[in-house]
Amino acid sequence: MRTGFVITANALLEGDVVWLTGTGALTRHLAGAQVFEDRAQAEAALAQASTRGHELVGPYLAEIRLTGHGPEPAHFREGFRARGPSNYRHGKQAETGTDRHVSLY
């Protein structure tokens, strides 16, 4: 299984989980995130993201597995961040299908 990294953080205003896309925009959905298979490139992009403190809080690299359906979280914690809590259908899992993959800014 191929693995890689995505850059993720919480959005300053909503606190919501976001990922960085290939254009430098932010997405609310992991499927839209840019995947780095090269660690050095990922670190460089993270350093760049770390300068965006006016819109992001606590950016870091999260490991993903590359599957036929796109990137999937390697760790269950990232799974909850990508989905929402398991006791209520709140957070990302509550959003309708139509606004998926739409970037934030």
Partner: protein
């Protein structure tokens, strides 16, 4: 109830004004996250997994109907229509937006509530007995003392940057319902020669290194309360380690320095600063505060209507058997409202439920509501004859679950479903255990048993002091649950013993089922509680049941 003075209103308004400006400066980019973080934490604002979280203090667990209604309004207007009551008499809102938080704080201030010092390395919300002022076993209502401590500790200039957070719990009853021995400072009222004072316990705490607090002063006169607390916290402020977050709590300071040495230092500091505190002023303030916490004027009653209804209605009978605690006035009871309906999230209440409880408190409970560290609500002053009507009102809102103190009355921290620190989920484990005992219909047969679940080693779910404790960990990227047995959260507080290897997420509920069924097999008689069976037989037979091995000398 404490009534805010002009000073209190002005203080809160000014503090909220400052925080509003700080939030604005964060949003416009003038403040970095590094600069903003300590400011937001001092005002109870966390950033969790999915969103910000605002933790609001319920000082000493007491709420008026108006305050509870305001919490409902806030839940609806700025959150997702519910709130989560925690194990330290706070309520948490899980989904606020940063820009809305100043408005939420202003709304709270309208009813005298705030989020000050619900986070950060400060003296946190002082917790107290949720049955205070009503319990039949109480020496004196501890809430005036708790309010005195709140006023002393709020914005205390010396204690805004302690080595680590600092938690105080206070009880006026010999039966400890606030886990004093698991707090940085625990205050237990005792009477000497008919005069109330405090046994002062220091250095308790759960978390990574669980410790039971030790008595540093066996009798502290009430008038010396503030200088003595100040002496302890000042001593800790100097001695406490700042080089290692995991060794920074006062329990480690006491452990590393030794209780005797800490006592000497505290007494020396106390002797030094006591003259700066006027004993007369403390007594006068306490007298003023006591007048605000005067118990309602309840007339002793016979309770005949209740007895008749109880005899006829088995559902009411089950509720009365588990959810009532003796009140000091005959014909009355303390009613615990379980926020643990089978399958629900422990401690969560919807806005509609909050409003219903506020209405019922006004109609049948003198307008007072309490929040317990067990994550339930309490109506402390209910006439037994009103119980049938109250029970019907609670049932209509799904709030009449008859399980207080039983297997489904589980304490659970938010865990990995919300908390950025968590290593595993807690809530679904609690939901499934409650669902299981509900489906098997065995919890009344099992009798009182405290199951407590934490989703990480910080132990917000108090797992060390549960009859059965469950700790969720991350083992090589998979949720794994470790079990402790034989803990106690009462006046004989004990840290439970860790069992063997942990259980996977899909194995933990069957494991708990085996423990509960083992109790039914092993107990001497139906009245023997889970804790008593563990005390009598030791851990081995339970371990054997847990791991499905033959116990060498099973009873």
């Amino acid at each position: 109830m404490y009534r805010y003075t002009e000073f209190d209103h002005a203080f809160l308004a000014e503090r909220n004004r400052q925080f509003r400006a700080q939030v604005a400066r964060r949003i416009d980019g003038s403040l970095t996250e590094e600069e903003f973080r300590p400011l937001r934490l001092m005002n109870g604002l966390y950033l969790q997994l999915h969103a910000y979280m605002l933790r609001v203090a319920i000082p000493y667990g007491t709420l008026s109907a108006a305050q509870l209604r305001k919490l409902a309004d806030i839940a609806e207007r700025w959150d997702k229509g519910y709130g989560h009551f925690t194990t330290r008499q706070n309520i948490q809102f899980n989904w606020p937006r940063l820009g809305d938080v100043p408005d939420m704080l202003d709304a709270l201030a309208e009813v005298g509530l705030h989020a000050i010092q619900t986070s950060g390395n400060t003296i946190r919300n002082v917790t107290s007995d949720h049955f205070a002022g009503a319990a039949a076993d109480e020496i004196e209502d501890p809430r005036p003392h708790a309010e005195l401590i709140r006023q002393w500790s709020t914005d205390h200039p010396e204690f805004q940057f302690l080595p680590r957070k600092f938690k105080i719990a206070i009880t006026g009853s010999p039966n400890d319902r606030v886990v004093t021995r698991a707090h940085d400072i625990g205050l237990r009222m005792v009477a000497r020669g008919g005069v109330p004072g405090f046994e002062v316990i220091v250095g308790g705490g759960l978390g990574r290194t669980p410790m039971i607090g030790q008595v540093i002063r066996d009798f502290l006169p009430v008038a010396d309360l503030l200088p003595y607390l100040e002496a302890i916290v000042a001593t800790y402020n100097l001695l406490g380690r700042r080089d290692n977050k995991y060794k920074a709590r006062i329990k480690i300071t006491v452990h590393e320095t030794g209780l005797e040495r800490v006592r000497e230092l505290v007494e020396a500091r106390f002797a030094e600063i006591a003259p700066e505190f006027s004993r007369d002023a403390t007594e006068a303030t306490l007298a003023r505060l006591r007048a605000m916490f005067t118990p309602p004027d309840l007339t002793p009653r016979q309770g005949g209507l209740f007895e008749a209804a109880r005899a006829k209605d088995p559902v009411l009978r089950a509720f009365a058997d588990t959810n009532l605690t003796p009140h000091r006035v005959p014909g009355h009871a303390i009613v615990t409202i379980s926020l643990k309906a089978h399958g629900a999230t422990p401690g969560d209440a919807t806005a509609a439920q909050m409003r219903a409880v506020a209405d019922l408190a006004e109609r049948y409970g003198q307008g007072e509501i309490r929040v317990s560290h067990m994550q339930n609500l309490v109506l402390p002053h209910v006439a037994l004859d009103d119980l049938p009507a109250l029970h019907a009102g609670l049932r209509a809102q799904g709030l009449a679950t008859a399980n207080v103190g039983l297997a489904s009355d589980i304490i659970a921290c938010p865990g990995m479903d919300y908390c950025a620190l968590a290593t595993a989920r807690s809530i679904p484990v609690a939901q499934q255990i409650a669902g299981l005992v509900g489906a098997l219909d065995i919890e009344h047969e099992l009798g009182p048993v405290q199951i407590k679940i934490s989703g990480c080693i910080n132990a917000c779910g108090h797992h060390h002091v549960g009859d059965i404790g469950i700790l969720g960990l991350d083992r090589a990227g998979v949720e794994n649950y470790q079990i402790t047995l034989g803990g106690s959260a009462t006046e004989d507080a004990r840290i439970g013993a860790r069992m063997g290897p942990g259980f996977a997420y899909d194995q933990i509920v069957p494991a708990i089922e085996r423990l509960l069924l083992a109790h039914l097999d092993l107990r001497l008689e139906p009245a023997e509680r889970f804790a008593q069976t563990v005390q009598r037989l030791g851990l081995e037979p339970f371990k054997a049941a847990l791991y499905e091995t033959e116990a060498a000398d099973a009873a």
